[in-house]
Symmetry: C2
Amino acid sequence: MQVARCLSTWKLMQAGCGKAGHQLVASLSTCRTSSHLPPHGSFGLLFDIDGVLVRGGTPIPAAKKCFRTLVDKQGRYKVPVVFVTNAGNCLRQTKAELLSRQLEVEVSPDQVMLSHSPLRMFTQLHHMRVLVSGQGPVEEVALNLGFQNVVTMDALREAYPLLDVVDHNRRPKGQIPASRGLQPIDAVILFGEPIRWETNLQLVVDVLLTHGNPDSNWNSTPYPHIPVLACNMDLLWMAEAKNPRFGHGMFLVCLESVYKKVTGHDLKYEALIGKPSVVTYNYAELLVRRQAERLGWTTPVKRLYAIGDNPMADIYGANLYNRYLQTAQRSQAQRQASRSGSSVDGGGPAMTPGVFGPGVDLPEACRSILVCTGVYSQDQREPPWHATPTAPERRIFHGHRDFRFDPSLTQPSFVVQDVQDAVELVFQQEGWPLH
Amino acid sequence: MQVARCLSTWKLMQAGCGKAGHQLVASLSTCRTSSHLPPHGSFGLLFDIDGVLVRGGTPIPAAKKCFRTLVDKQGRYKVPVVFVTNAGNCLRQTKAELLSRQLEVEVSPDQVMLSHSPLRMFTQLHHMRVLVSGQGPVEEVALNLGFQNVVTMDALREAYPLLDVVDHNRRPKGQIPASRGLQPIDAVILFGEPIRWETNLQLVVDVLLTHGNPDSNWNSTPYPHIPVLACNMDLLWMAEAKNPRFGHGMFLVCLESVYKKVTGHDLKYEALIGKPSVVTYNYAELLVRRQAERLGWTTPVKRLYAIGDNPMADIYGANLYNRYLQTAQRSQAQRQASRSGSSVDGGGPAMTPGVFGPGVDLPEACRSILVCTGVYSQDQREPPWHATPTAPERRIFHGHRDFRFDPSLTQPSFVVQDVQDAVELVFQQEGWPLH
């Protein structure tokens, strides 16, 4: 059975992935057919959600089948499993309940990581008065993360009723209402795609151009502006529609363009959080470690496998984190040799350093697995890692403005058809029986 | 009285406008104090509305006073008056009624020109199936202009219910609804700023990337895309708020950025209509001529005075039109000399040629008058026409992407405090008694 699946996967790759298939044969030829088990605690799984497990509100059939095999008869996971999504307009509890229904296995909130989850560690910001942009329970999300002084867009609109006038029907009628005069805003946090982008674009720019006090003049604007933090850079994502849909990354494109057009300056981010940021994978690794402890594993997790559909988020992020892990290992080796410390390069412009000190056993590697059920599909003429500098595709860059694009980081360790193939491949790689 | 007003205006300019004041003294020194009248039919007035006559829903006091003097005891205008606004999300009739109430004089729909009014002349497009973006009675506006086959954003959303999914609450619930499959769309017309920019951005990009059939794959996209026409490029405008508000030009910035990010290509406009396009002033001149005929004037209108608050729209447009008039005169002179025809350069990338043939008596000049009650204010550190290439302001360009920026065209013929001063200045220039 394992041989058959291994061959089947290989065929899929050959059929679907053109040149990529050839490149990856070497990796697949290491598929083990024996039932020999490696020591417990050797690996963990990171699952993207949209385009891998579900599309819109609909589960992908392979995901349900696959998760049935990932738990034992008591419903306990065989290996640490963490869901790493760039979604951010909801609570972990809500996402866990939804996934439990969709996958028909129990998913705990501790297994779910949303794009904003690492903000829990940004304690230096928690006392600031923050304006939050997003939809759904965005205020509750911010309070849950530890922010103590939260202003919503609706509260800002009500306090300054003359600011948001694009919608003729929402303009103040009759006598001009007075501004209420809120305390100045210290920072802006962009959680996820809002609704009524015109309102959020106008109000965020007003706040940035008035140093947090939108009742004052634009003229007195200092630059750089007050801190802006953005979660979820996904430009596109796959729902039920045939073509990708606009994500929060597209709202950021609009905000950056609008700010630049008005001021002539670049919008600056204090932090960009969510895949492909290293800080996100650091946090995901922490959750995997906790899962491993709950499973009673006594040896550290050595390898992570990140399964996703988006070359620019899931694959780029996993590979960037893998590079971070390699650098960390080299640094540790150097430290051990010289008994002197050195810092680790996060690999991106908005990266924060790793959350763990030198004493933590980081994994050795993070492998990336691309599935063809979402943003990336087999009928794309050329995958992004084959784009040459002279090809027209070179002009297209679906990553965030602030990421120095390294095409090699979009190249997955493996390409498979769907999440079931991905999980079977991992267990084969690890020599661990899945069934 | 005329002398006093002339001096008063001159003082305002000196006090309020820094270096600009000095430059303009020469023009003002020509103020005539005699009561000698020029021949009837010598000039007409073009008024911008927002920031000149009203701010938001509130009339500017000087505007009411000024219009009282512009009509005789029977309420008839003393000279041709046309209102040239970049607003586009309403009908001329509605705008005329509103202005009549705000200014307390009768304004006829024939005196009102909205940004989309010249589309009436684009008869080659009227049979096409057009997707319209804007708010308010946008479908009625399109039908009134002559378009016979109009699709609204709401109709498109209903026909393809999986496309617009940014707002979680508007996503399809339960069973996935089927697409209805509309006839392909031939062109997109952007009338004015819509609401829910995320919906309009997503649907317009879907239509452009699928050649008008959003049920097909993005992959098969041809470039250039189907025609896109945009009315009203105003980036900013003045309502009641202290700082400028986002206009339709800001929506266009978002659309251009989003399209470029997804495809790597520039969005192309078939036409950009509204100030500062020459086609808009051509049409305004036609309305002035009709007004003059109604006043019984038998000689052609020789000079136009355009009064506005926005250097990038009102002043740039009036000066560009003035340049067009100069070129037209030279061409006519050459034609008369050589008895051979030559074309006239519209002066912008998306200009259509003038609407009149060589037989029409075009005005000799169009003068621009900047007021300080709107987007441009006296406390700006430096007016745009003084920005040097090395100054930081040089990076700021509030005009549209497709206009080759010529800073000299933002320099007004005159700068005055408000519309009352502007009108008195014009009558002084023309040696015509206003009171």
